[in-house]
Every structure is written in structure tokens, then in C-alpha cells.
Symmetry: C2
Subunit: 117 residues, 2 copies
Amino acid sequence: MQRVPLYQAKAEFFRMLGHPVRIRVLELLQEGPKPVRELLAAIEIEPSSLSQQLAVLRRSGIVVSARDGSTVVYSLAGADVADLLRAARRILTELLAGQQGLLAELREAEQSPARLL
Amino acid sequence: MQRVPLYQAKAEFFRMLGHPVRIRVLELLQEGPKPVRELLAAIEIEPSSLSQQLAVLRRSGIVVSARDGSTVVYSLAGADVADLLRAARRILTELLAGQQGLLAELREAEQSPARLL
DNA sequence: TGGGGAATTGCAGAAGCCTTCAACTCATGG
DNA sequence: CCATGAGTTGAAGGCTTCTGCAATTCCCCA
């Protein structure tokens, strides 16, 4: 078994999350298992492109797929992703608020530029 | 103000976390503000490479830097990253455990391959 | 005022990731 | 058995990201 430093495993994990389509899939799957067809309808994207992203999620083990007749159903692999996404949203909210605050300052500064110096 | 879909902002956020050095920096900064020199000592890496990664973190707003004489001190921008990293660790633990379980099965299977079919 | 250390920036080459097209597998229904 | 629809896989091309070197900035101290 190959020993990988923990911080590297974490980095890979976050990188795995770092794609809009993959995020949307995880969010959708939080409502419960979904067939590909349904994901495809919700996220507008080429089927093969969705498949590629699903493959990334599958390889990481965060989702699993099961065949049911001619359709394939995906579901979260137990892991509660909800907490993670919630924590991310909290931070993101702070960060965006910060940026808005900054932008507000800059807008004011346009009116009296001296304040920036 | 340019309106970016939330799932895209989330993806960018996770992508920003997706680098071993950046993860280590965030972990170190959880103990409190640290001068670059100290980060450099803890993480073995070229100074310029660390600077690049610090710049990524800075741009995202998750850390801030302040000059103190000839050294520069970095700190978390308030956001409590701890929760996020904790949630990530939980999931990661599950995933790794899953993989180990799987590997164990495969090892058994080597001894009686029929069980896999 | 000039030397020197701390950190950052600019950049080029290498590495990795994303999208898309075409080919393929698998199950269903005629 | 073959055609068709659902998904997946493979591979190429274009883009982004990473690493490391060289040059630069900023501050301190002699």
C-alpha cells in the first residue's frame, strides 16, 4: 500500500471537487440517488462530458454507480458531503462579502480618490 | 459587479485549495499568524515557489499578509478554515478506509479469485 | 549611501486538465 | 439477430497551472 502524505491526499481531494459540473452533481445527489438522464437534464452539458466528470467522482470514491436495466444510477458513497459543502459555503460567503466590502470602498474612492493614498 | 453562478464560485474555491503547499500553509496558519521565514522552514520548498502559492491564497482572500519590518507575516483572513478542513478530513478518512477495505478484498481474492466473479 | 537579507514578480518549459469527437459496451424491443 | 438508445471510454488539441531561475523591490544596518 503506497503511503501518501496526508496533506497531499487532502489537496487531491479538493482538486477533485474543483469543477463546476462536479459540484453540481454532488449537490444534486444530496437529494438522493439519481439516474444519469436526470443529471443530464439538470446540468446542460454534453453526455460524454458529464460522463468524464462522473468518472472523476467515481475514481475518487465519493460517489458510486449502479446499473438498473439500461440506465445508470449514481449516489453519494455514504460520506456526508453536506457538512463539507456547508463549511465551504460559509467561508465563501465571508470571502465574497469581503470582496463586496472592498468593492464598495473602491467605488467610494472613485469619488474622492485621495482616500486610497 | 459581475454575477458568477454559485457552483462556479464554489468550484474555484475548491480549486484554490487543491495544492499540497497551500493546504500545509493553511494548516500552519491555524496555529496563528506566521512569518514567511517560518513557513519556509516548515515546508521545504523554494522561496519563490512558496511565494507563488501564497499569492494564490492572497488573491482568493483566504489569507492576508502584513509587512513587519523586513519580514512579511501571513494570517488567516478570519474565515474559520478549521471546520472546512475537519469536514474534509472526515470524508477523506471514510474514502481511504473504503479503499483499504477494497484493497483487502482484492488481496483475499488473489487467493481465491473465483470470489470476484 | 551602499551592502545584504527577505520576499515577490516575470517568465519559459514541463505537466496536468478540460472539451469534444468518434468508437465502443450493454441492455431492450422489434 | 440487429437496430436503437443510454452511458462510457479513448485520444487529440487547446488551455491553465506548476516549478525553478533570474531579476526586482523593500527594508535594515553599517
